[in-house]
């Protein structure tokens, strides 16, 4: 599955979904890859990764079947 992008992260990437490179197997690696491809993401106050609709730690592994999303600082309410 692709990587879903929301809010400011979507604006920075310019697209709502990214293809996940096959070699990325955990959250830390995904973040590093995102920062490399879109350096502006480093300007976000925070960038969380959600795996299967739940906030994930850097150590969490990611498989091809997982629903992965990039969560910039939320601002609901």
């Amino acid at each position: 599955m692709g990587i879903l992008l929301f809010g400011a992260a979507k604006d920075i990437a310019g697209v709502p979904v990214l293809e996940k490179p096959a070699h990325i197997s955990d959250v830390a690696a995904l973040k590093a890859w995102l920062y490399e491809v879109y350096p502006s993401l480093q300007q976000l106050k925070s960038m969380m990764i959600a795996v299967n609709r739940a906030y994930a730690t850097d150590e969490q592994t990611i498989s091809q079947q997982d629903e992965v999303a990039v969560i910039p600082p939320v601002s609901g309410g």
């Binding site: 929301f6 400011a8 609709r53 739940a54 999303a69 969560i71 939320v74 609901g76 309410g77």
Partner: protein, 133 residues
């Protein structure tokens, strides 16, 4: 605890009231968040709310679980609007019904605080001066 969670274009306080008011509960506390016509002295034309709906619903359910662990609340409503919202429009409604008003206040404030921290909803502010943030 009975729970109503909803994310949609238009929300009303009335639907929250309809869900929580019951002869079993004595105290209902409602928080209504409306779009303001200014942010830090700058005129706001509109907000646009987007959300990661499946995860937002899941995070709202997690908040409900935490409320249930902390307090004896009978009913809990969490409503959030999405799309274009103009000054005066409702953005969020939290409603809590309980036999005791003290915990209803505590729970309602806890829910809105946590919702703003954890639920994946984002707003874009359209200012009168043309900036979009």
């Amino acid at each position: 605890m009975e729970i109503l969670i909803n994310i949609k274009e238009t929300i009303t306080v009335q639907e929250a009231l309809d869900f929580i008011q019951s002869p079993e509960c004595g105290g209902e506390v409602i928080f209504a968040g409306t779009v303001r016509n200014h942010t830090k002295q700058r005129e706001v034309l509109k907000l646009f709310y987007e959300c990661y709906e499946a995860m937002a619903i899941s995070e709202m359910q997690k908040i409900a679980v935490k409320v249930q662990e902390k307090w004896a609340i009978q009913k809990l409503v969490m409503l959030h609007a999405v799309g274009d919202k103009y000054p005066g429009d409702l953005a969020v409604v939290i409603a809590v019904a309980s036999a005791h008003r003290g915990i209803a206040f505590d729970a309602c404030e806890y829910v809105i605080d946590l919702l703003k921290e954890t639920v994946p909803i984002w707003k874009k502010e359209f200012f009168a001066d043309g900036e979009i943030v």
